[in-house]
Symmetry: none
Amino acid sequence: MEEKNNKRKDILASARDLFGEKGFHNTKMEEIALGAGVGKGTLYEYFKNKQEIFDETCEEYVKIFHESVEEISSMDITFKEKVILLFREKEKSIDKECEKNPIDYIMSYKGIISEKVLKTMFEYISDMYETMTKIIEQGKKEGTVKKNISSDVIACLIVGMIGEYFNLRMCKKDYVVYGEEEIFNLLFDGFGVK
Amino acid sequence: MEEKNNKRKDILASARDLFGEKGFHNTKMEEIALGAGVGKGTLYEYFKNKQEIFDETCEEYVKIFHESVEEISSMDITFKEKVILLFREKEKSIDKECEKNPIDYIMSYKGIISEKVLKTMFEYISDMYETMTKIIEQGKKEGTVKKNISSDVIACLIVGMIGEYFNLRMCKKDYVVYGEEEIFNLLFDGFGVK
Amino acid sequence: MEEKNNKRKDILASARDLFGEKGFHNTKMEEIALGAGVGKGTLYEYFKNKQEIFDETCEEYVKIFHESVEEISSMDITFKEKVILLFREKEKSIDKECEKNPIDYIMSYKGIISEKVLKTMFEYISDMYETMTKIIEQGKKEGTVKKNISSDVIACLIVGMIGEYFNLRMCKKDYVVYGEEEIFNLLFDGFGVK
Amino acid sequence: MEEKNNKRKDILASARDLFGEKGFHNTKMEEIALGAGVGKGTLYEYFKNKQEIFDETCEEYVKIFHESVEEISSMDITFKEKVILLFREKEKSIDKECEKNPIDYIMSYKGIISEKVLKTMFEYISDMYETMTKIIEQGKKEGTVKKNISSDVIACLIVGMIGEYFNLRMCKKDYVVYGEEEIFNLLFDGFGVK
DNA sequence: GATGAATGAGTATTCATTCAT
DNA sequence: AATGAATGAATACTCATTCAT
């Protein structure tokens, strides 16, 4: 059973890497098997078919996202420090493979992700936003975040800004890298002149 | 010539719809032909192969994005009004089909988009950011935008916020819709307490 | 009508070249049209389909062979001189395109040449052998050819030797070229020691 | 391994039959599979593509030719007996399927046989002529073949005569069949009157 | 008569899945 | 449980033929 779980995990890890790198249709079952160090037939011992493997990597993808936010949320640090950590977490994920943010991940697999799994994924994302909301509520309690703005919208601002910042960096080669402090200040004070 | 261009356009329109809806690999040439109201062989009169059709829809995708920003940029209205228009433009595009933002569109087709086309697309995105920058410079001139923050980063903030706002709305069914005014204020003033 | 016949001939000439060079299936109707300097549709004004064009080039192919033998046969020269001319004629045909001898031409298109045309071609070849026989009869009359050997078999000897001689030359790069005189002597005297 | 080689051989046998009967382009992969008693996909387990199957049947074709000559050459019989055997061997091959002589086989597939395989085939033919030469040298040693004629040219005479004899027989229905003895005498003594 | 844009039947090839070992 | 040889459904693409101009 121990063994079995290991093989299962190896298969999922191999699949996650390959789907991330080449997409669903360009990833062959044989490659997944090869990457997992098992035979092609073995994949079907642990999963019903290719779709099932894919579905599981999808769920896992958003789950990991959610967990990393959850983890940050539960830390015993200030609101501002948490925002900075979210920023760093995103940076790390890019160095790995998960360049897409969850929603776009879903979008890019429209027609591939099964309805059932999609629902699960949306739930995870909702949960993640819930957690983001908690972080922002902490800021409000600490007195650093305005109380009269919905935490949801603030979450949007933070998540969107962070995501787009890294998007831009990917696109413009000569992009000047800004420090976390400056970005946080922008989020905090806005760009408007009083 | 007129005629010919029409068929070409019909094919591209059909392809754009189908690729958008089902992705590259799940879209069959026969379906594209059917959707365009032409025979299968006709596709190959106008395009070398499936990839070439796809490439062209990709270029067009970012081109349209770029043009809509360009158009807003050139209008004779205030900075704030332009930001609001960007917001509305995004909303319209979602009602159509272009749910993905350009970068994520690219990401989701990693391994499918040809190198050459990818370059073109990145250029369009860079151009779009350039245009965004111009809009922000206008704000600085008008005295409504802080001069000591890089226009690039402000562009990130605006684009990211707008994108993520609609992402969230897609994900959370019970999401309370906020007005443009409130969102603009958030961007303008930040969420921080002075 | 004059015009029409010219176009017909242009098409056949183009087809003959291309079929000879690339075979039936690798020759496209468009190429034939291009080579003949006419539009694709025009081919169908003069021929029912590709097969009909091919059939006609086939008939023509053996017809030309037959005619060249016929021509040599009717010349006012000795038997030996006629054999030498046959040899030279074959050499010329190789420099052109018709590297295959008629029977092998037929063999190589088994399943492509229509039954009806095949019959015609076999008739031409029979006629050609008939003519060869006449040439040999002349030799017998002249007293240079043995009378007690069937002219048919002698025809085989001459045609086969000439054909194979050029086959070998095509295959062996370092092949020493022998003169017509020596080859004729071999045919005439055999290789046996009395 | 045994098994595997059997399937490979089955496929090649099926392909050889079909290519011989219908040519390259008229033979469908499905038919080859059917003839070999395997599934369509299995063809691709043993061969890269249709061309590779074809190439191998081509090589085999000339190889068999070469081997039969080689076998006759190595027998412990007189020169004359060997020539008679060559004649009979050709007759057998016609009853089978190999109606074309090797060079014409090659010619008939111009543009289909790959360059690499063509080279191999020419080598086999060269080898075959080499072997023919050895047979003729034996005749010279035995004192039955004239020493002052190149063995190459004599080989041409023998091969050409034999080939053409059967060509003629195929073409002329009413052809009188001559005995081996008469044909050998013709080769041996020529048709000329001293 | 002449044309070539439009067509779709026909085919090589791929790859997820099965199943005998 | 594990395997990979065997399979055939599915699909991009070609090219002979048609027909409106």
